[in-house]
């Protein structure tokens, strides 16, 4: 072991010998410290990298490429205040919107269920559900990121972010979610 020799020469034959110091030093503590610092730097360099979510918006500059969307395949989501969601499938004004919450049993379940339902009831290769997200002025950025995230989790192929209309805001107000 790398230790300092402190025993000295002892007393052999009554002669006093000078102490013979070893040149080896105990490096254990130094190595410990070095590895601790390495660990620290590894952790901070890789974890500090910002993570991001990809976001695509429809191209506004080319209105002519907008395709007509069958209403029966469309699900509209309104984001209200206090992280409340109202949703309906089909034509606006057709059915009363359902009020929903974020979370596993809330909107995620709804998205998956509705997606399945629409895929079963429609024919052809284009039978996926189209989700329209309409965030109101009272919704927070967190809700917005959350809903895009839920859409990604549910594997919705097509979604868009659209401005909310005053009529829809009025409906949100009536339900106390604005």
């Amino acid at each position: 072991m790398a230790e300092l020799d402190t025993s000295g020469g002892g007393k052999k034959g009554g002669k006093i010998r000078s102490k013979k110091a070893s040149t080896r030093i105990d490096l254990t503590a130094m190595v410990d410290l070095a590895f601790l610092l390495i660990t620290f730097f590894i952790m901070t360099t890789t974890l500090a990298k910002p993570k991001a979510m990809d976001m695509f918006m429809p191209d506004k500059s080319k209105p002519e490429v907008q395709l007509p969307v069958p209403e029966t395949r469309t699900m509209t989501l309104w984001l209200g205040s206090n992280s409340k969601i109202e949703w309906f499938v089909g034509k606006p004004g057709g059915s009363r919107p359902t009020i929903d919450n974020f979370g596993k049993d809330g909107i995620r379940k709804t998205l998956v269920e509705q997606n399945k339902k629409i895929e079963e009831t429609h024919q052809g290769p284009d039978n996926f559900m189209i989700v329209l997200v309409k965030p109101s002025d009272k919704s927070t950025y967190k809700d917005f990121v959350n809903i895009i995230d839920e859409i990604n989790i549910a594997g919705i192929k097509s979604y868009g972010v659209v401005d909310i209309t005053p009529g829809e805001v009025a409906q949100l107000k009536k339900d106390g979610n604005y």
Binding site: M1, A2, D26, L27, T28, M30, V31, A34, F35, L37, I38, F41, I42, T44, T45, A48, K49, P50, K51, A52, M53, D54, M55, F56, M57, P58, D59, K60, S61, L79, P135, S136, D137, K138, S139, T140, Y141, K142, D143, F144, V145, N146, I148, D149, N152, I153
Partner: protein, 190 residues
């Protein structure tokens, strides 16, 4: 046991990590990013960050050379002659949120005083030629000419911020036909 070799390796690695480590810079605008499950790592360069929080917008871009060239272009556009020393000082500011009229004053401060400087955010209004639009536009041009790469945009929004503040930034981006951008989030498990 002989520790010499181990110690050597440890310090070699340590030196390497210290040299490659990027100092985490303090954000002038404190932003609490929302969590999401689907994340991709953001690239290191050719990225401009738009921070949104407390109703203010801050602008930041990576790379000192890009920053210098950007300030030069902005000075030309707004008829503010920035000196070479000012450009040098500006090139180390990672994020800022002052109107261009106050920028010279802000650059002149030293680092400690900059923190106390009341930054009002980069002005944005509904017109086509607001300051944020110019910063974004010039940043894209500069990145293209210096690095021959398209500039990516990342939005760092505060979780509690109301949606219209975010919409304002997206509208500015969309007016320049930038329809793809990144939202900076923290990782969340499902």
């Amino acid at each position: 046991m002989d520790m010499t070799a181990m110690c050597d390796v440890a310090f070699l690695l340590l030196t390497f990590f210290i040299l490659t480590a990027k100092l985490r810079q303090e954000d002038p605008l404190h932003v609490d990013v929302p969590p999401s499950t689907t994340v991709i790592p953001l690239p290191d360069d050719n990225v401009a960050t738009l921070s949104v929080g407390k109703g203010k917008i801050f602008f930041g871009i990576e790379g000192t050379a890009v920053r210098e060239a950007l300030l030069d272009e902005m000075g030309k556009k707004y008829n503010i002659p920035f000196t070479a020393a000012e450009k040098k000082r500006f090139s180390v500011i990672p994020t800022f949120g002052v109107p261009i009229a106050q920028l010279q004053q802000y650059i002149a401060l030293d680092e400690e005083k900059r923190k106390a400087f009341p930054q009002s955010g980069i002005p944005v209004d509904t017109t086509i030629n607001n300051e944020l639009t110019s910063w974004i536009y010039e940043a894209r041009l500069v990145t293209k000419s210096l690095n021959n790469k398209d500039l990516r945009f990342a939005i760092k929004g505060d979780a509690r911020e109301e949606y219209p503040a975010y919409k304002k930034v997206v509208d500015v981006l969309q007016k320049q036909a930038i329809n793809k951008f990144d939202l900076i989030t923290s990782l969340k498990t499902k």
